[in-house]
Amino acid sequence: MKQAETGKKAWRNDAYSKVTGQAEYCDDLKVHGMAHAVPVYSSEVHAEIISIETEEARSFPGVLSVITAGDIPGEIRYGQIYKDYHMLADDRIRFNGDVIAIVVAQKREQAVAAAKLVRLNAKPLPPLLDPEEALKDGASLVHEDHIFEGKSCNITNHHKIRRGNVSAAFKECDFVIERKFNTQYIEHSYLEPESGLCIPRYDGVMEVMGSMQHPFSTRRFVAAILGAKLSDVEVRSVAVGGGFGGKDDTAALVCARAALAAKILNKPVKMTYDREWSFRESYKRHPYIIYYKMGIKNGKIHAAEVKIIADSGAYCSVTPWVTWRSTVQCCGPYEVEHVHCDTYGVYTNNVFTGAMRGFGSPQLNFAIEQLVDIAAEKLGISPVEFRKQNMLRQGSTTITGQVLDTHTVSLDQVFEETLKRMDYESKLAKCSRGRADENSDELYGTGLALSYRGMSLGAEGMDFNSAIINVQPDGSILLEAAIHENGQGAESAFILIAAGELGTSVDRIRYRQPSTSNIPDGGTTVASRGTIMGGGAVVTATRELKRKLAMALCCRLSCNPGDIRFFNDRIYGKTDDVFLTYEQAVHEMYLQQEIPYAFGVFKAPKVSWDEETGKGNAYFTWVYGCQAVELTVNRKTGKVKLLNMTAAHEVGRAINMPMILGQIYGGMAMGAGYGLMEEVKVKDGIIQNTNFNTYKIPRAADLPEMQAIVIENGDPLSPSGAKGIGEPANELMAPAIANAVYNATGIRYYSSPLKITVENENNNK
């Protein structure tokens, strides 16, 4: 174990451009002759479309075109798993964010004004808004042509775990805890709303730039709407103002619609969303209903029965993948002998839901980590001791039957480090538990939560990535990997990894502006897979490059290829006085007609999964985390004040320490929002809060000072040794807060965000 050195200066390849305002985000771009497109929504939640009247809008000054589904030359429907999303609504409105038309005008203000003139004639249908109703036989169908397991229904997916025998096991238990939990919709709230700029190019290619986190997925959406081949579309990266999982489907749809307009008008078209449209249309984190039954025997979690219902909203997006992770991790980082889990994704007429940082784990952790505290209290032991008795350790078997022996299981380390840094157990003893001091209305509490998390996509996805490294004639290096920079610092991490492998300074390496036409599709930049997968590919590519250099240069350096060493920004032979600069090395390569170029692929090690039993090695490696919080609750006002948040995360090997710390701080902050403040309020299918005055995300004054502990245990299955941190950092703070609020007030909250009930004035003693 190596602890992070702090105080190290941060480095990013894009920091200069970002602090000077030079970094170009999509809406900052301007192209000659560019038109502006905006979406048109309707007031309906669920309705059959009779007609869409566009005449009046068309004749508005400056309007170039009003486009509806009938104008789409390619596919109207698309989607990542099911092709259920009508990129422009044609037959029905399925949720309030459905786009019925796009208006294109010379100026954006003109398009915005004209959009109000588009009229929808529709026959309203009763909306289906309750996911539990939607699951029932005979419920009306959100998608009439959707078939799951041979029948028409609203179920998008059903995942299972069948381990041991729960009904027998519950009978053996000393006690059983049964609770229902509800979690809320969360808006990603990336600070930059969606934007896309599409340019029909001289060579027939539709060039796309956009605020997105998955250029290859965007390319598929664009190609689909245009009826074009993938090679006819080139998606290029620009600076992205945050993603958090939220800039996949909706961002791709914005680009696809802009591309459609660009194609129809044969001119560049930009479509930039304002915050209200983004809130209305973009997918959210799934709200979950979780029925949880946990049985305890001899101080151990003996059995768990879990039923999870995830509201997918009007479209499927990646609900089956999100809920798969919830299923695999449904018992938290504990050994449990008997598990029965059923997880359903279900269509409703609510706003659709998809990927968000955490990807199905924040919901489950909110339940599990509270249940663990409840169980400890019933046993009369400390929640620390109870966790120690149950947690996964080196060689433990997970609930899906995976033996954790290929990497260091760091759960006890992250736990111990947090306990130590917080002085947790002595603070636990000081908690108010509903009783404030004589002269104070502040109730004090502390709480924590633990998790483990499967890295990357796991058994639900194809998981591989590639990188290209290309040394230029002057010895400078171009690097690229098929992972997208969303703001997290992926490009910088790859440069650092390559520089480490090649023994060069970071200045020698430039990250090439990525494009879908440069490099093979490496899958989406989600699942905290950027560093582990892209970094793995970068290591493979640099090692291949070093092999090529060694073969070509060994004669010049009078040694065997195996003797060649890369450090100090040079290439050395056996002794330190024999070396070549990179420029000399490239020259030598060229003389030998060798190209100093390498392509590297990292394929994730094999994983497995059985859909019927829920058995398998779900992920090839795991990370471990612990977060704790201290807070006070004012018993008169219910106001929570966070005093301190502390996290310990194991990350494999740390590549860019200040950026890891930034991920942890940002993750804790977002987790605090999940626990205490954030909730997309949906009334009769319509989102009520569509900007930051009513949808509150944490501001600086809402947050306390934070501490982050980074634990490094290089992972043998990751070529760079690194794993990931984006999501683990965001899956723990809400349950830690819920436990702390309980320890402060003596009241348990089973729904997020916590809505603290205020003591009735009269009840005060």
């Binding site: 941060a10 894009d14 305002g21 930059e192 950026m659 902050a669 004054a701």
Partner: protein
């Protein structure tokens, strides 16, 4: 109308007076460092300084800057692109992730440090509360502002 933006004098057409200031800066003057994150004065991504006071450009009309000295992020760095110590501090402290909040955050911090060059962390926390950042949890932003304070005054 006459205004100074980043030390450059502009004569603005009277017809521009009623236009939204943020749109005007971005669309007409190509000063795209100020961002539109909410359009309603809620996020601070569009922050500029007018006579050294932080202003949310999305809530103002162009006429607001008539006769004022305006600083946008484009005017923060010195000749040859030399970074202002506050900008350098943002880089060094790891205060930049996606960067969308960064221009507004730097300008809000700049206005604050001009008035208070020896702040406590709590004062800094309060000062940047009008500006949202979704990436960083503000911790390293506060570090950056604290570190840069010595350069003021």
């Amino acid at each position: 109308m006459k205004t100074t933006i980043n030390n450059k004098v502009y004569e603005l057409n009277d017809e521009a007076a009623d236009r939204n200031l943020l749109d005007y800066l971005r669309e007409e003057l190509d000063l795209t460092g100020a961002k539109n994150g909410c359009g309603k004065g809620l996020c601070g991504a569009c922050t500029i300084l007018a006579d050294n006071k932080a202003v949310k450009a999305c809530r103002q009309k162009v006429s607001f800057i008539d006769g004022k000295e305006v600083l946008t992020i484009e005017g923060m760095s010195g000749p040859g692109g030399k970074l202002h110590p506050l900008q350098q501090s943002f880089i060094d402290c790891g205060a930049v992730q996606c960067g969308f909040c960064t221009p507004g955050m730097i300008l809000t911090a700049h206005a604050f440090l001009l008035k208070n060059n020896n702040p406590s962390r709590d004062e800094v926390r309060k000062a940047i509360t009008p500006n949202l950042c979704r990436c960083t949890g503000y911790q390293q932003i506060i570090d950056a502002i604290m570190n840069a304070a010595v350069n003021y005054g």
